[in-house]
Symmetry: none
Subunit: 204 residues, 4 copies
Amino acid sequence: MIITVASFKGGVGKTTTAIHIAAFIAKRRGAGRVVLGDGDLNRSALSWYERGGDRIPFVVTDGDAVPDNYQHLIIDTPARPKDDELIALAMNSDLLIIPTTPAPFSLEATLATLSRLTALPEDRYRVLLTRVPPRNSKRGDRARDVLLNSGIPVFNGAIQTRTIFEDAELEGVPVYALKGTVAQDAWSDYEAIGREIWKEWGKS
Amino acid sequence: MIITVASFKGGVGKTTTAIHIAAFIAKRRGAGRVVLGDGDLNRSALSWYERGGDRIPFVVTDGDAVPDNYQHLIIDTPARPKDDELIALAMNSDLLIIPTTPAPFSLEATLATLSRLTALPEDRYRVLLTRVPPRNSKRGDRARDVLLNSGIPVFNGAIQTRTIFEDAELEGVPVYALKGTVAQDAWSDYEAIGREIWKEWGKS
Amino acid sequence: MIITVASFKGGVGKTTTAIHIAAFIAKRRGAGRVVLGDGDLNRSALSWYERGGDRIPFVVTDGDAVPDNYQHLIIDTPARPKDDELIALAMNSDLLIIPTTPAPFSLEATLATLSRLTALPEDRYRVLLTRVPPRNSKRGDRARDVLLNSGIPVFNGAIQTRTIFEDAELEGVPVYALKGTVAQDAWSDYEAIGREIWKEWGKS
Amino acid sequence: MIITVASFKGGVGKTTTAIHIAAFIAKRRGAGRVVLGDGDLNRSALSWYERGGDRIPFVVTDGDAVPDNYQHLIIDTPARPKDDELIALAMNSDLLIIPTTPAPFSLEATLATLSRLTALPEDRYRVLLTRVPPRNSKRGDRARDVLLNSGIPVFNGAIQTRTIFEDAELEGVPVYALKGTVAQDAWSDYEAIGREIWKEWGKS
DNA sequence: TGAGTTAGAATGGCACCACCCGTC
DNA sequence: GACGGGTGGTGCCATTCTAACTCA
């Protein structure tokens, strides 16, 4: 399975999403070798990986030097891909994940681009709402409605804003490696997404 | 006065900062004509301006078509400028503002770049901490300490995370145009920054 | 049923216990009229009742003026009863509850007195551990062991230290009338005691 | 110097206060012979003294048999003194200390009594807040405000709730005789009170 | 014995919601 | 009567501190 993570706006948790989706897959029984190819210019995923070392259950490599011997590949792309690049990414993947926050600019950018890209098959990509205000997902729900009304596929789950994601980033580990109930709650968010992915694309 | 806003990471509130700094200056008595040149590829500031119309006390133009008849110019740059671009921006401005969140990646990117750019004069730029968790300034303070210990100038004030900034974005106005005490608190954050700027660079 | 609450040391939650035991009984289906007779010189229970008014599901009267038409009577006695007074109280009640904290002085006073009062039938009284440090019941368990080893009957449940009991006191209501999960947890402590009482003496 | 400790409610740390104030004075250089007269009916201070033996730097005697050859005398009174008794105690002492917890009943009892006793000279007594929740709690400050607003003198310091006071009681020593940083923190609380006393009444 | 770890409680702040009130 | 603004109440997250346990 090849999963690409791309976004039209920075700071929406693209790298965090790539890391945690890769971790979810790597933790599946019999998942085989999982590789995360870091194509982001900031090399954020590599930095994360270097801090965490062997506490990360998959391999992170430079996006230009992905080895062949993987079972599942997650690609963290540069920000703001051009239209044709995006379509190429999607066509070469089983699934394109587009993290988006409920903030107007982020939502607007996602909507505008995806509405334009009619060539993108609906079963090849899905939007993931991230940095959703924790309390009541009113903002998150509104954003999901807007997207769905435009015919854009959205994950049922969403990732809440949690400072523990920053702690995990600092530690260089996925959130489940941190202690406390908060860490487990945060991980649950990504687990729900992971299950959605596995159910739909797990056989690829 | 020419102020440039640039950042090494997306989603740190670069456009929000440009809008509100411009608004602060435009509201000063006798400030003259204020222009915000939107150089960001997403044209976020222009989009903000178009929604708000005449409720914004300054003019937003395309970054490539800035008129000459301004008294103060604020420039919203594209994300992730290259080193030489950044230095050119700084040398052509009175002040370069670099919004940064306390998140590890954001801080790391800012630190790495600014440590590298020794050619950047210290009186020409300043880091602005944005999206600081509101409850406890511990995260913000830690980030400020890290920056100051590296010899990087940082604004005394900081911008807290507040959903009302998203509301303002949606409305197309600066936060002070919204009602409620929360809006005024949010505006106070930028006012404090504005005063710091005016005190130091107001005569330029 | 007549329940008397007495203690050999102040500040152990005697009034709080009387209020909540009365509340538990009053909330039982078909419990009939419940009266709390405040015999304490500080008139704490009356003060509590006056603050709360009709939010308290039973009646509090002066200990010297208890009406006859009650189904269940709870008596809050003055602190430090003399030996013969205590025995009289116990013989005139179905159950004598002696709240005690795990603090040495409190425990010591309870132990010394009860060891001396061999005339007190074991099925007529029971010690209630109150103000038990919440984190770890070790202090409470030790105190219970000490008491049980001396042949003194102790409730299985215990009342943890919680500031919400002070809030309830200030409001003049039982804790269950306050909001939040903490209030419910605190009420659970007394519910457990209430069930123990009801099971053993409910038919009286 | 004669110091009397009295309270209008049990369980507020009256004996603990008497012990530690006596210990503070006895540890002063050149303080001379310090005697604690235990007038409490429970003989708590005597019990404390008997457990500790010579680890206590002062003498504890029965309140009815205080020797004459003391330099400083601390009196632990019975609980709930009557109005005239209290005034007599105060007039025969240099300082009357009234320990009070921030709990409503305790505060209420202290307020009501002290408001009534206008005959009590303000330079002869002072309220000591005890069993105050940890520093991050505002309960202690609120209680102090209530008292000060009623014109009642209160010590600047306060005694926090700490289980180590129970350990000290069990051991029969002042807290400073126990090991660990917690013990020293607890002792600091009483040291601060002791310094306030010494500064104001030390020459008596 | 001392330091690090863990768990639980209490506080404060923001976001959301429901109600109230004043105005047109 | 409808609408808008303001206010109070609720829920939840982040933080901090204490107490007990663990390990060296």
